[in-house]
């Protein structure tokens, strides 16, 4: 029945917009203001609200899919029980900056310890930061099928978690490996979408990390009549594409 989502924003309206983004088909919502606080450093108001759909047309199965919704919506779930469903919560630009800096320190220290050359490139996106090691001159940070890069990503995540006590949104790449892989995954997902539309049968994609899954969920969301969800546990978590 009632599904609860959380939204966060600089104003009550923004938080509300963020929260109801995936409850579009709902006629009526109940809003509960959980508390507000003003960040002392930036003076930015942060309001957390909880929105419960009173008449929610979505069936229960879709709760599973809520993790792939827009970045601003945090599903109310216990982190410990579902370590794998870690789709992005909203991050403020200041938080993101801070996380990207810390991740850059990590990567610089790592290059130093490995005695490798290289530069870092940081890109800040709306809901995550991208940190790329370039001109390293070898695939040492990538490894076979990206396994070294996966390990670095995991260790950066742990290190930032310890420093900031929150789930950080920094994606690590080396020599464009991730973006090349994402392009290939998008191509394959395109084929899978066609196949589901053709046959009506669900397609299960290869295991992907959280950023890749999010990109695929967004792709599927733009296709009428199809829906997607994630299944399995990291690092074997996969996207399933199926008919709505």
């Amino acid at each position: 029945m009632g599904r609860t989502v959380h939204g966060r924003g600089g104003t009550l309206q923004e938080a509300l917009d963020a929260a109801v983004r995936d409850l579009l088909d709902t006629d009526e919502v109940e809003v509960r203001l959980e508390g507000d606080q003003v960040d002392g450093w930036t003076g930015v108001a942060r309001i957390d609200i909880e929105v419960t759909a009173v008449s929610d047309p979505a069936d229960d199965a879709e709760d599973d899919a809520s993790e792939e919704d827009a970045a601003a919506v945090e599903a109310s779930e216990e982190e410990d029980e579902q370590p794998a469903s870690d789709e992005p919560p909203l991050v403020s630009p200041q938080d993101l900056d801070e996380e990207a800096d810390a991740a850059a320190d990590f990567l610089e220290g790592l290059l130093d310890a490995m005695d490798l050359p290289g530069d870092l490139r940081i890109k800040l996106h709306e809901d995550h930061a991208e940190l790329e090691g370039i001109d390293i001159g070898s695939g040492a940070l990538i490894g076979r099928r990206g396994q070294t890069l996966d390990a670095i990503q995991e260790l950066v995540r742990c290190s930032l978690q310890r420093q900031f006590q929150r789930r950080a949104r920094v994606k690590i790449d080396a020599e464009g490996y991730r973006s090349r892989r994402l392009e290939k995954l998008v191509e394959k997902a395109d084929e899978a979408i066609d196949a589901v539309l053709d046959t009506g049968e669900a397609e299960r994609l290869e295991p992907m990390d959280v950023f890749e899954r999010k990109a695929i969920h967004q792709m599927v969301a733009e296709v009428d009549g199809l829906t997607s969800r994630s299944q399995g546990r990291e690092p074997a978590r996969r996207v399933i594409i199926e008919q709505e």
Binding site: A113, A140, G143, A151, I152, E154, C158, R162
Partner: protein, 78 residues
């Protein structure tokens, strides 16, 4: 030795007591065993849920070892 430097660096990034990170090296012709010692409160941090962090540490340290043609194993000790 790059594998040892990487292990030390990474371990210190993960723990609350970086001063108590210590590495013992045991080398023979075939392989290098790096024994990682951390403060007991930090043990969970270097192992992680279902050993996920430990696995990532091993992968990365092995990659660093490969740069020096070393076969490296990491053992975590409290």
């Amino acid at each position: 030795m790059r594998s040892e430097d990487v292990l030390e660096f990474v371990a210190k990034q993960l723990v609350d007591h970086p001063d108590e990170v210590r590495i013992e090296v045991d080398e023979d012709d075939r392989e290098t065993v790096l024994e990682l010692h951390v403060h007991e409160e930090d043990l969970g941090k270097v192992i992680g849920k279902r050993g996920r962090t430990a696995k990532a540490i091993r992968t990365l340290v092995k990659a660093a070892g490969a740069l020096d043609d070393e076969n490296v194993t990491v053992e975590i000790v409290d």
